[in-house]
Amino acid sequence: MVATFEPKKTYKVIGTRPIRHDGYDKVTGRALYGADLKLPGQVWGAVLRSPYAHANITRMDTSEAEKYPGVLAVVTAKDMPKAESKMVDLGEGTVNEKHEVDRIMASDKIVFRGQPVAAVAAVDRNTAEEAVKLIRVEYQPLQPVLTVEEAMAKGAPIILPDLVGDDLGEKVKKTNMAKHFRHEFGDVEKGFSQAKHIVERTFKMSMTHQGYIEPHNAVAMWDEDNRLRIWTGTQGAFAVRKQMAGILKLDESRVKVTPMEIGGGFGGKIPVYLEPIAALLSKKCRRPVKLVMERKAVFESTGPAPGGTLRVKVGVDASGKITAAASDMKLEAGGFPGSAVGAAAMCIYSPYNIPNTTIDGWDIVVNKPKSAPYRAPGAPQAHFAMESVIDELCEKGGWDPIDFRLKNSAKEGTRRGDGVKFGSIGNVDVLKAASRSPHWKSVLNKDTTDGKKRGRGIASGYWFNIGLKSAVTLSANNDGTVSLVEGSTDIGGSRASIAMQAAEVLGIPALDVRPTVADTEGVAYNDVTGGSRTTYATGFAAYEAAIKMVEELKARAARIWNQDPSDILFKDGVFSAKKDSELRLNFKELSKKLGETGGPVTVTGSVDLSTGGGAYGAHIVDVEVDTETGKVEILRYTIVQDVGKAIHPSYVEGQMQGGVVQGIGWALNEEYFMTKEGTMANSSFLDYRMPTTLDLPKIETVIVEVFNPGHPFGVRGVGEVPIAPPIAAIGNALHDALGVRLVETPFKPGRIMEALEAQSKAAAVKPKR
């Protein structure tokens, strides 16, 4: 897509902070989320889940549940269409069809605890939940495989007997390794030989969850024409349609998906979980069936971010130039293949210009929930490892961490870890802005009167941002407002940021463009709200539609004024005739006159875009550690990020702040704490410790705008970059405070105490000089 737009000096709408269009519904409780829907005749479902992480199902008896008063339908994997072990594309890359169906409901084997095995529909929720307990399932428990090391060990139990692994292009059978790939550029041996300082470290990470507050939900209804309707909180109605059609073996046109308001997703609400089960139940009982997932199941059986093991080795010459980098990343896919290791490889070296690099990535199957995208999938893991090593190198060489990063910064034309050259990127601008920030210039008093230790850390982060397909319809109303129909679920204010781009073109106020998120039959295909693409791609489609609307309105004005359409001008929101200066109408005035000009004005914009302009962030954090307990307080946090162009700065800041706080949680306390049986021991908001408001300071934001030439207003994706640097930034701050390098997440108090103890023991055995 070629932008035919010059960056403007000033905007009327873009860069302002209007009240979001859906705001009133959301502050009054009127907004309808998936769980709020109540259809006539609607009944409830409940799901039975495996108590084992690894087991064979040997017998199942649903008769007691079927007899329970109030039960309307019971389904098991037998009710699913037969799936074959073959690769299919369900919109999120290719997956094995049988794996995808088994993930929804296990047919013969359990590969993660919480995997559904049966479900019930009943007259109300409580009846369904009681009845589902009456289903008897017999399991043959198998030894769970819980880490990438266990999974790759010789003689490890094989989790998926039909898995064919890909080891650098060679097929491997009887393996837990789904994939091993390599990127190799330059000559790392030579690069390391040129280095004066080399740091090599291995890092370990636990799985973490997106932690959206709204549990998954779905309502399904089959009609008499064998058409399926789905209402659900999802990041992509069309993605749900595609998955449903694939799993249930239906034509896509037989599935209509209505996206409800969504209570957070962060990548986790791209895969379907409950939707196919609700559909099976509805088909059996011929009633609309609603399912709402309990929180424990959200943790145990939806898609967390992968944990794993990452090794990074970086060499720097005497002048402070990076000469080589090598890394191994082994990430946990969960019970079925598909971790974010490929994306991690694209991000790991992205802030730097490194002449000689290798990256080896492994996608490893383990008996944990199937991982799913989580905000910049793979980037937090990759940057934690890389930025920690960079910090250590800066310390070794005595370099200022920002100067070092500037000296080695990636620029336009630098190669990414997978060899692709960067287009226009803003890492240098971000680093310079960070160095000028009040936070970086401030002095941190490292020691406190109460014996606590303080430290400051900095880290960079990158996300490539995706583009893909979006379509928007605009219709002019005769009162001068414009209806905008789009297909991008609004998770954080995107109705506003999309409408504002149309409003800017049309020269009308933001609130005069009225956005609606349509169902899959109300708008053309749209890819998911994810990959930081929505304001970029759907906003671009809105821009395109608005350009077309201006053209159409010029034609209408020409008709009214008896002018040639090519003689109509549109500037600053006013249509005028080149040849008659008396003929002037603004958008609103012209809208009122459309009645006699040839029917309603409606236009569409449609785009299929390449990458949304990769973007960088640099984060600065001050921490304070109670060295007696290991407890960490975040004292101050500053985010510096290139956003291309902030359409609605408040929501841009909000994305930055929200991403960082998820990163803070990931760094300090969040983890899948697994028992040796493969049970997540902390599957509640009580013990999966996400930050509360009391755990945080204000989060400072510095918006950097480096125009993205791939977008008419220069927009880059915003939402994902901010979660990439925090873990490393906090780890580096802890090192500054304590002198210990933390190599395993989360940096929970007990782990910090262990590191301090190891440090003091090491100091004790060192001979005194």
């Binding site: 009127r30 929501y651 929200g658």
Partner: protein
């Protein structure tokens, strides 16, 4: 079934509920108000917060039967027919919501705080709201919105005049291809 007579958002309500039904499900399924949300069903997220007899509670941890004779306020009861609650207005202006699922709980909790402590400082606000989880915003804009609502409320009560509540429009031109804009530590710092 338990016979319950109660007041919801100022309106009397009378209904029968199964004894096991939570107040949350009672409000959502029986009364039909879906502003209070289910997030965890174990009192750890605050999305279901309502005011019961003057105190905020997690309605998932109260039985509907216990509402008998009581008085309940939900997010639907915060605005008057004439105007939004200052908190609602401030949340809109400060962009203190993203996905919005936690918003009803935050608004109800904060409304209870403002009523008893109209000038709570940032630390107190953070403490009071610690039982409400938000995963989208990082809380920064929520805390700012509550502080703003305190100011709006005190001005309202001072002047009794209608406060013109317009969004702050900060249009930032970007003459160069690159520009930098900061939002910093305005307001009271935590430490």
């Amino acid at each position: 079934m338990v016979h319950v007579k109660t007041t919801i958002n100022g309106q009397p309500a009378e209904f029968l509920v199964p004894a096991y039904l939570s107040l949350l499900d009672t409000i959502r399924e029986v009364v039909g108000l879906t502003g209070a949300k289910e997030g965890c069903l174990d009192g750890n997220c605050g999305a279901c917060t309502v005011i019961l007899n003057g105190r905020i509670v997690d309605s998932c941890l109260v039985l509907g039967a216990e509402a008998n004779g009581g008085e309940i306020t939900t997010v639907e009861g915060l605005a008057t027919p004439d105007a939004l609650h200052p908190l609602q207005q401030a949340f809109l202006e400060e962009a203190a919501l993203q996905c919005g699922i936690c918003t009803p709980g935050f608004l109800v909790s904060a409304a209870a705080l403002l009523k008893r402590e109209p000038k709570a400082n940032e630390q107190r606000i953070r403490h009071w709201l610690a039982g409400n989880l938000c995963r989208c915003t990082g809380y920064d804009k929520i805390v700012r919105a509550v502080i703003k609502a305190e100011d709006m409320s005190s001005q309202l009560s001072k002047s009794k005049a209608k406060v013109a509540a317009k969004p702050t429009a900060k249009s930032s031109a970007s003459p160069k291809a690159s520009s930098v804009r900061s939002s910093g530590r305005s307001g009271s710092g935590r430490k």
